[in-house]
């Protein structure tokens, strides 16, 4: 290619269809090299919403975020957890390197309060990250959150059911997670700078203790009340 044209193409204002957007925002490294390579700027987008879609809890969705959360907890600012479905377990969180002093759990009684809390946390700029488990999402509410994240320059993570994958969303990054034998399969459904078709498999640290179970597996399944 003509060297002067090459020079022009390096201008940050020029975006070509086949490359990912160069974000001026500093990205937050995920701690997984394979995933970093896929994400614009090489990490989680700060000052934007990230949607994490999954059909089943317990496949490693939090373990995917913990390296970034641990890094954020070194700085000032809360890690706000809004309406978590279960009890965040202190000992396990501490083991991932997250400073528990930075953790703020909010359990609003109503869905409207939960959305309000998430928006306030994002907008205030006092949070390094916001993790929210919200229901009854609509485009207007999502857009408000996205704008709040931009205002407060906060990394907002929204956990939603995989059913929502087909819905439109103003989030900057949307990931669909599926369990796989080697770890966690991450499909990037949306990112700034075009979609990717091939899922990337992220190797997850083994859950729990490493000793092998000697006992015969019982016949079990989870009854959700």
């Amino acid at each position: 290619m003509n060297p002067s044209l090459e020079l022009v193409l390096q201008h940050p204002g020029i975006w070509r269809g086949n490359q990912r957007a160069q974000t001026a925002d500093d990205a937050l490294p995920t701690g997984f090299a394979a995933l970093d390579a896929l994400l614009p700027g090489g990490g989680w987008p700060r000052g934007a919403l990230t949607e994490v879609l999954l059909s089943r809890q317990g496949i490693g969705e939090l373990r995917l975020l913990t390296p970034a959360l641990a890094r954020l907890s070194e700085a000032d600012g809360w890690l706000a957890w809004v309406a978590p479905p279960y009890v965040p377990y202190a000992a396990a969180l501490a083991a991932t390197g997250i400073d528990l002093r930075r953790l703020l759990v909010a359990k609003p009684r109503s869905e409207a309060d939960a959305w309000w809390t998430a928006e306030q946390a994002l907008r205030s700029g006092a949070c390094g990250a916001l993790l929210a488990w919200l229901r009854a999402a609509d485009e207007r509410r999502m857009r408000r959150l996205q704008l709040a994240a931009e205002t407060g320059h906060t990394w907002g993570v929204l956990f939603r059911h995989a059913r929502a994958a087909q819905d439109r969303s103003p989030a900057a990054l949307r990931l669909l997670l599926e369990p796989s034998t080697e770890g966690l399969a991450v499909h990037v459904i949306k990112r700034r700078g075009g979609p990717v078709s091939r899922p990337v498999v992220v190797a997850m640290p083994q859950a729990g203790s490493v000793r092998r179970a000697r006992r015969a597996a019982p016949t079990l399944s989870l009854l959700h009340s």
């Binding site: 059909s55 089943r56 809890q57 317990g58 496949i59 490693g60 969705e61 939090l62 373990r63 000032d76 600012g77 809360w78 978590p84 479905p85 279960y86 009890v87 965040p88 377990y89 202190a90 000992a91 396990a92 969180l93 501490a94 083991a95 991932t96 528990l100 002093r101 953790l103 703020l104 759990v105 909010a106 359990k107 609003p108 009684r109 309060d113 309000w116 809390t117 306030q120 946390a121 205030s124 700029g125 006092a126 949070c127 599926e178 369990p179 083994q206 859950a207 729990g208 203790s209 000793r211 092998r212 179970a213 006992r215 597996a217 019982p218 016949t219 079990l220 399944s221 989870l222 009854l223």
Partner: protein, 465 residues
């Protein structure tokens, strides 16, 4: 020495009007020589033709809906004390000049407030915020400053010679002398202080008494002055009577804001902060309503209190009309002064504010931190806390713990690791004897399950998310 004098020329009026957001015609009357006279009225009343010195019935006939209040010296005294408390934010040397004056010795605190101009601006905005108006003047002597403020000459005089020329132009009626003396001065043709000073000293002292000469010497700094300084109260409780009963909690906000600068001054003087504030709303023939404001950390910032007050009052429903509000600081906590940030606002302050706002809307127990507890039983291995101290890490635990274990039946779980035996708690009746495993279900989710060693039943207790 540099003295700053405040003359609250409309104090008798403002004790009634400062709680109102919208001014309505108001006149304050006082009984003198058997008749009731208007001694002060606000602009709205003046626009209707009400004048000072009118008889009360005449004023009432002129202005429709004129609110006439009898002068309340007790309220004025309280207001002046409140103002003295507020002035404590500038200097500890505050002296009262009843009924409507304050004198502050500010030469020692000028650099703290970055100069006289900044201090005066701050004082002016503070007075306005509290709903008062004042004439302010500075002079090297307290009485000189007080005379200037009374005359409404808002000048900052720092030089004794200049003070003399400015004082010379003031009328003699400002002097704190009996009416007979003032009349006598008028009779000899002395209209201004300058005229008095030109009269022979000995003659003036013989004819009008030594006190006149002394007062002039005091104002010019030729006689040492002894002033008693105001001693602030040990606790803070200030009331404000509302001009009309209010039902709407948001309307209370305006009145409550009037009290916040006093609180800030009080806390600054005491080198203290508050973590809790009480706003007491008094009703007619009803129990008072108590509204509590909680801060994340001890603070003395009026701006923070204001934000919190707005959030709280916005969510409060009053059951009856309120006629008086009181602001009380139940517990003072030591708080040293904070340094201002040179470059940027810290996130810490924002964080506290966010925490306070969330707690107001969601309730105090819906927003919390977590910490680890020294107990082997998983359900007791964590606890809710306000400020987590330390954490004992354990990487064999799931990130999610179910609020209570769920029994599991049918279907297949694959145990991938374990068992980890936990037996504990026989001493408090909540004993557990369990074998914990990590299991994978058909959908690939990793669960933390246990087999109860007493019943042999299986439960899910956590999720490795």
């Amino acid at each position: 020495m540099l003295w700053l004098a405040f003359h609250f020329h409309s104090l008798s009026l403002e004790v009634f009007s400062r709680g109102a957001a919208v001014p309505e015609p108001l006149a304050v009357v006082e009984k003198q020589r058997g008749r009731t006279w208007v001694i002060a009225c606000n602009d709205v009343a003046e626009a209707c033709g009400v004048r000072i010195g009118m008889a009360a019935p005449a004023a009432q006939a002129l202005a429709d809906g004129l609110v006439v209040r009898k002068r309340d010296p007790e309220a004025e005294r309280e207001s002046l004390a409140g103002l003295a408390v507020w002035a404590g934010r500038f200097t500890p040397s505050v002296s009262l000049e009843p009924p409507a004056g304050l004198l502050l010795e500010i030469s020692t605190c000028l650099s703290l407030h970055r100069g006289l101009a900044k201090l005066l601006k701050l004082a002016r905005s503070g007075v306005n915020e509290m709903g008062y108006s004042a004439a302010m003047a500075c002079a090297p002597t307290s009485h000189g400053a007080w005379l200037l403020a009374q005359a409404g000459v808002e000048k900052a005089v720092r030089d004794a010679a200049r003070l003399e020329t400015i004082l010379a132009a003031l009328p003699v009626t400002l002097l704190d002398q009996p009416p007979a003396v003032l009349e006598g001065l008028e009779r000899v043709g002395a209209q201004t202080l300058g005229d008095c000073l030109r009269l022979p000293r000995g003659g003036v002292a013989r004819r009008f008494g030594q006190s006149l000469v002394d007062e002039l010497d005091l104002a010019l700094g030729q006689l040492p002055e002894a002033r008693a300084f105001f001693v602030p109260p040990a606790s803070f409780e200030r009331s404000l009577e509302l001009p009309a009963p209010v039902r709407d909690a948001e309307a209370l906000q305006f009145a409550a804001h009037r009290l916040l600068p006093e609180l800030e001054g009080f806390l600054t003087l005491r080198q203290a902060g508050v973590q809790e504030l009480e706003l007491i709303c008094r009703h007619e023939r009803r129990e008072d309503t108590l509204i509590k404001l909680g801060f994340a950390k001890p603070t003395r910032d009026a701006g923070r209190a204001q934000l919190l007050l707005r959030e709280t009052l916005g969510r409060t429903r009053l059951e009856a009309a309120v006629h008086t509000i009181s602001l009380r600081a139940p517990l003072l906590l030591p708080l040293s002064a904070t340094c201002g940030d040179l470059f940027q606002k810290s996130r810490e302050a924002d964080g506290d504010l966010l925490l306070e706002r969330l707690r107001i809307r969601l309730g105090k127990d819906a927003v919390y931190g977590i910490e680890t507890a020294a107990d082997h039983r998983p359900e007791r291995g964590w606890r809710v806390c306000e400020a987590p101290a330390g954490a004992a890490a354990n990487r064999h635990r799931p990130l999610w713990l179910l609020p209570r274990p769920l029994p599991c039946h049918d279907g297949r779980l694959k145990l991938t690791s374990g068992p980890e035996r936990i037996e504990s708690g026989w001493w408090d009746g909540a004993d557990v004897a369990r074998d914990y495993y990590v299991a994978e279900d058909r959908n690939g989710a990793q669960l933390w399950v246990y087999c109860d060693r007493v019943s042999g039943e299986w439960y899910v207790h956590g999720v490795f998310a």
